[in-house]
Symmetry: C2
Subunit: 762 residues, 2 copies
């Protein structure tokens, strides 16, 4: 394995001090002279037409500078997710939204917004807006929404591409072999259906944006977006202003993301820009927590059916998967998520015959969109439950059954790129050892009230969005006249340590320590185009772009040093910020850079990367204790063994894995947004929404496996989303091991487990 100086080391995060001291600047901290505050009036109805809206009383309130609604605002249709910026023909992005419409489609939908000199006045003004609604029939159940007599939530307006009753985008169909034949060849077939809940990202920082519009019409927006460059493109589309006249940037910190702001930060950016245009003043909008719960993307709830056929020896013969996702009132990433559900679900195991069909569907609830894993956790809860059932039915060890069937490089698979590496076997073996897999089935005595169980589940994911969507990164790396290095990349750091990781790549490639590195990110003015932070791509793709740019800058520096030293280039190298000639230290990089500066040269590198893709792999193991009297599940230990290719910064990678696992545990046991019969969210606050807390935490053991991928930067693969992919089924399988009940609906709350135990008794 290659020896690295900076890569592979847990160097301190560049944001550590500012974060730890509370001094980092987030969008909500920004204040500009003369700035106004925006508040949004939201629909109390799940589906209604606005018959009349009178904003005059609100406009007359002293301190109010503008009131926006559908009547005085562009109705250019868009999609608040980044889909419209990277959907590749012949696929088409679904453009089903405008900032304010004359129809509201869920409780929380935008009706109007006020810009005022204070938040209090803006809030007061909302109450002065008179709206008369004509109620329309609403539908909340995704199956019912597809029925012929269901209300139409969207019509086929320009850009709102429907492929069936309330079905946005396309139905997905993925096939390998002939699944019917496969089932005929199978000795054992299991078919089960699973129900997935609405999960909320619940990221710490709510959606926020601050917009200014110059007298020239140039727009600047600081916001919480995970994708500044695509956000710029969406704003360009909405306001019909050229992209180069718009600047979007993070301020630079954003408090989490988990997919909730891939593209716009809900509608924070266009609401702020529109009001800034109307008032000619800076306008800031910060969603409150309730708005963040009710009016920003969630994880897709839905229904997944798995049919698995195997030979008696355990060889998988056929795998059929059906997905239905409830994308809520607007499509957002609905068309993509349903695709990833199928693609990822069918990429873990080798089987000659596979089939996936799936679609998303509109209902009158909060829109669902991107959330860490993007359909994959939904798929894997179903598949990994069924695989466990298959092991039981075959009388095989669940681990051995998986080891027998997991994908190996060269196996036929459904994905349009090749699998060039897998450390999944190592993940399974190491994880099993850590959890003590051999103890499975031997943990309880008959009659125990508290029963323990061990379960496992595996999965894979992507390292970027290619070739499903457009996906590319560019970067600049410049060496300053004192030898220090400036990196410019358009990706944000939403708390994942991007800035540090990208800095490590540059430091490694050039041959300097981190103290010489500064990194500018997430600013369309300072960086070349980057598709942004999503799809676990940042390290894998933006990292490659930075490495390429750094290599070019280094090459200029070495070529210059070769001239200075009158030595052939091939004898020279840079280490520890110095140029060495055949092992002898000759010049500091600062001396070379200063000399070049005085001879009119800066070493500038540009990186341009069209990525390949690489599957990361993971095996999760859970040990749980179930109280058979109450149904309460206590997590005792969670082992997450991940093939990350190469851990560029192991502590950051462990943090990513732990964070993912924690969200996965919440998905498994407690997190769910429910809507009442009128479509009102019942879980619209931290104190209502059941996030796990520190006291719920078991021992979490992240195990890093490094099966370096030839396509990755230093071998790295994606890691951002993987932590959450297989946590829930590992826990479900552990619960089954403990108490023999198979839960087919998430979250596996105390109530549901209790009910299942009751059903088992009857």
């Amino acid at each position: 394995m290659k020896e690295y100086q900076v890569v592979g080391k847990s160097v301190r995060r560049l944001d550590a001090l500012e974060k730890a001291t509370g001094m980092g600047t987030f969008t909500t901290d920004l204040v500009l002279p003369g700035m106004l505050y925006a508040k949004v009036l939201r629909s109390p109805h799940a589906h209604a037409r606005i018959v009349r809206i009178d904003t005059s009383r609100a406009e007359q309130l002293p301190g109010v500078e503008a009131v926006a609604c559908f009547k005085n605002t562009t109705r250019k249709r868009f999609n608040h997710s980044a889909t419209m910026t990277f959907t590749v023909p012949p696929m088409e992005a679904v453009l089903d939204e405008c900032i304010y419409d004359d129809v509201v489609r869920y409780v929380g939908d935008e009706v109007a917004a006020v810009a005022a000199v204070s938040e209090r006045i803006a809030e007061e003004a909302l109450a002065l807006i008179d709206v008369e609604y004509e109620l329309l029939p609403a539908v909340f159940d995704p199956v019912k929404a597809m029925e012929p007599n269901a209300p139409d939530i969207h019509t086929r307006k320009a850009g709102c591409f429907l492929c069936g009753k309330n079905i946005p985008g396309e139905k997905i169909h993925l096939a390998l072999g002939n699944v019917e034949e496969g089932f005929k060849e199978s000795d054992v077939i299991i078919e089960e259906t699973f129900y997935l809940p609405v999960q909320k990202q619940a990221q710490l920082e709510t959606q926020a944006a601050l917009a200014t519009v110059s007298h020239n019409g140039d727009i600047t927006v600081w916001s919480t977006t995970q994708t500044p460059h695509p956000t710029r493109q969406i704003l360009s589309h909405i306001f019909e202003i050229s992209q180069s006249k718009i600047r979007v940037l993070n301020p630079p910190y954003i408090g989490g993301g988990f997919g909730v702001r891939i593209g716009l930060s809900a509608k924070a950016e266009p609401i702020a820009v529109d009001l800034a245009m109307k008032t000619k003043k800076p306008v800031k909008i910060v969603y409150d927590r309730k708005e963040d719960f009710t009016s920003t993307d969630t994880r897709h709830s839905g229904i997944v059916t798995v049919k698995l056929g195997a030979k008696k020896d355990g060889t998988f013969q056929a795998l059929q998967l059906k997905g239905l996702l409830n994308t809520g009132a607007y499509c957002s990433f609905g068309a993509e998520t349903i695709g990833v559900l199928g693609a990822m679900g069918l990429s873990v195991y080798r089987a000659p015959h596979m089939l996936y069909t799936g679609n998303s569907v509109y209902t009158n609830i909060t829109p669902a969109g991107a959330f860490r894993g993007f359909g994959n956790p939904q798929a894997m809860f179903a598949i990994e439950s069924v695989v466990d059932m298959m092991a039981e039915q075959l009388g095989m060890d669940a681990k051995e059954l998986r080891l027998k069937n997991i994908i190996k490089p060269g196996d036929p698979w459904i994905l349009p790129y090749s699998c060039q590496s897998t450390g999944l076997t190592e993940c399974i073996e190491k994880g099993a050892k850590e959890i003590g897999w051999e103890r499975r089935g031997k943990l309880n005595k008959p009659g125990d009230r508290l029963r323990r169980g061990i379960g496992m589940a595996v999965g894979t994911h992507v390292s970027d969005a290619w070739p499903f969507c457009g996906d590319f990164s560019n970067a600049y790396v410049t060496i300053q006249a004192d030898g220090s290095v400036h990196v410019a990349s358009g990706v944000p750091d939403m708390g994942t340590g991007t800035r540090t990781t990208l800095g490590q790549f540059a430091a490694e490639v050039i041959g300097v320590g981190m103290e010489h590195i500064s990194v500018t990110i997430a600013d369309t003015q300072s960086t070349p185009f980057d598709i942004g932070s999503h799809a676990s791509r940042t390290c894998y793709v933006a990292g490659q772009a930075v490495m390429q740019a750094a290599a070019e800058a280094r090459s200029y520096a070495l070529t210059y040093a070769a001239k200075m030293l009158n030595e052939p280039l091939e004898n020279l190298t840079i280490q520890n910020a110095a140029v060495y000639c055949r092992g002898e230290r000759k010049l500091t990089l600062a001396e070379v850079a200063r000399h070049a500066h005085l001879h009119n040269e800066q070493f500038i590198g540009v990186g341009k990367v069209i990525p390949q893709n690489a599957p990361p792999w993971l095996a999760h193991f859970a040990e749980v204790e179930v109280d058979t009297e109450t149904g309460q599940v206590r997590l005792l230990k969670l082992v997450a063994a991940h093939d990350v290719g190469k851990a560029i910064n192991p502590v950051i990678v462990e943090g990513q894995l732990q964070g993912g696992v924690v969200q996965g545990m919440g998905y498994a046991l407690s997190e769910e947004v429910l809507f009442d019969r009128d479509g009102r969210s019942q879980h619209d606050a931290y104190h209502k929404y059941m996030l796990l807390t520190a006291e719920d935490m078991p021992e979490i053991k992240a195990i890093i496996v490094e099966a370096e991928d030839p396509t990755g930067p230093c071998g790295a693969k994606g890691v951002g989303e993987t932590g959450q992919v297989a946590t829930a089924p590992a826990i479900a399988n552990a619960i089954y091991d403990a108490v023999g009940v198979r839960l087919k609906q998430l979250p596996m709350t105390e109530e549901r487990v209790f009910q299942a135990l009751q059903n088992q008794l009857n």
Copy 2:
């Protein structure tokens, strides 16, 4: 001549609307949350040692957050001009300053600074700082300052390079042939000495900076600097922080410059940074007008002697020039200005024998530094006065004598680069025609009280600082996914229209209109290194970098379009934002860019330019009316005929020429800062300093001559400084024509003209 679409057109300035509506943001407009205001305590003495300084009473004033003086502040030595960032070995920059020293060297020198929550409190606190001074002998006359018994203003501390008593840097010696031989061969020799005043830039916006220091120690400074990248380097040197951790930018507007902030904005940036470090809050400092007059660089006053020898037929045989410049209390650009005085003075005329010797000298007045023309106006006042005297003595027409002797390409000359173009003959002929040169000497009747005269003078200048100093530009040009173009260049736009001109280059090269262009300038984070705006270089050098970057971006776009169209690259071109194949419009650039975007490519160009140099040429003609009873000179007409190579934006070029001429007229007639016997400025406010006003203005006729230079972008040469080079001697020669008195001291005030007329009578 090549046909251009955007270049050569007077397109509207990109800053026009914001400037005209007063909405442009300048440093003084910036407000950050928690920002403090700084005020500076300045020396009341011309030369003194600080024996004791007690800041405790000031520190105790409520609202005061820090007081800085030499005792608690770094004393790292620097030079507030950019000299230390581009002086090329074996030359050495003179580092003779620190932020606060224990010796003050002129009235206005920095003693201490206060950061407080309001300007008023900061001002009050200044009065509470107790300082005890030990007075030191001061010297104001540059000749006396070089005498052995003069006080030492600086000692040979580290970095303060002296080459003689109070002489900073090196004495300049430039020679061609043997000047003694030349005079022996001459039939007529004239030797005269001229006296030049302290002129002030009097730019509208005073020096200002706003600094923030993050908890990580990263520094951001918005300021009025003309050179953000070099300013970053100076701050890096002063505070010993790596360059990549510092960001310097304009906000983006600056209200003029004229050389007064090449490098630091006086000491605004380090004072603000130091106080921001001390208080951990943003700190803003805005010099008041008095501070701007007393404590920021002026034009060098001095003494220039010219000895010119000619054959009877008018052929110049020998030209000797001696310069002495008073650089005041700190060197600033003193070492460079004295060099440019000689180099430019000897580059206008052909003579086989030339010699220049000169040096700057310290005195205890306000430091002198860069000011539009940079030594050249001083040289040309002397030389062009003597050339006129020579014409009279030879009985030749002054225009014909000049036409006979001016440099032609290929002539031997003193400069280390070649002259590849000159339109000076055309300038002279066109200017002479415009002023009505043939009327010279025929304008007055005997006994007229008001007597008219016509005079002319010529000159040259540079298009950048190479190879006297380091000089280079880089640029990024990116084509966005909608075909719009983003240009990033490190040069500022200090009112000269840089942003527009650079945008025109990009538009021309790529083949789009200005509506597709946005330009980011003057931000070290968003742009690669650029040495900044000085030496008339911005259009000539930064323009080349932008053209190169644009050409690369265009080439990527065309290559991509060739693939799309399946056509050979050589058949394609871009015009009007569309790709044409053999004359037929095939695709819009937006379509190409969008297609490339969806296939993971952005068209990114990088420009890296090490410039050559090219002389611009100019001939000024003045018609004046002198009141023989009062000595008052009234300007009737000023013709400025300039060979600018190529006028990229003619209206901007005319504006530059007119502005230069106006400063030249003030230099000629009214502008002067005088110091009293204690070294106190007598002209430290707009109402004391005699700027010409609108009612003093004659008809000004700018004539653009375009002798394109092969080294310039589209043939352009420098234009920023040239307007002022020969205005004063043209006026002096016109006064002589009117009344027969030869003024050898500027400004030619009413009083001095009156005195000269009196002397003529006696």
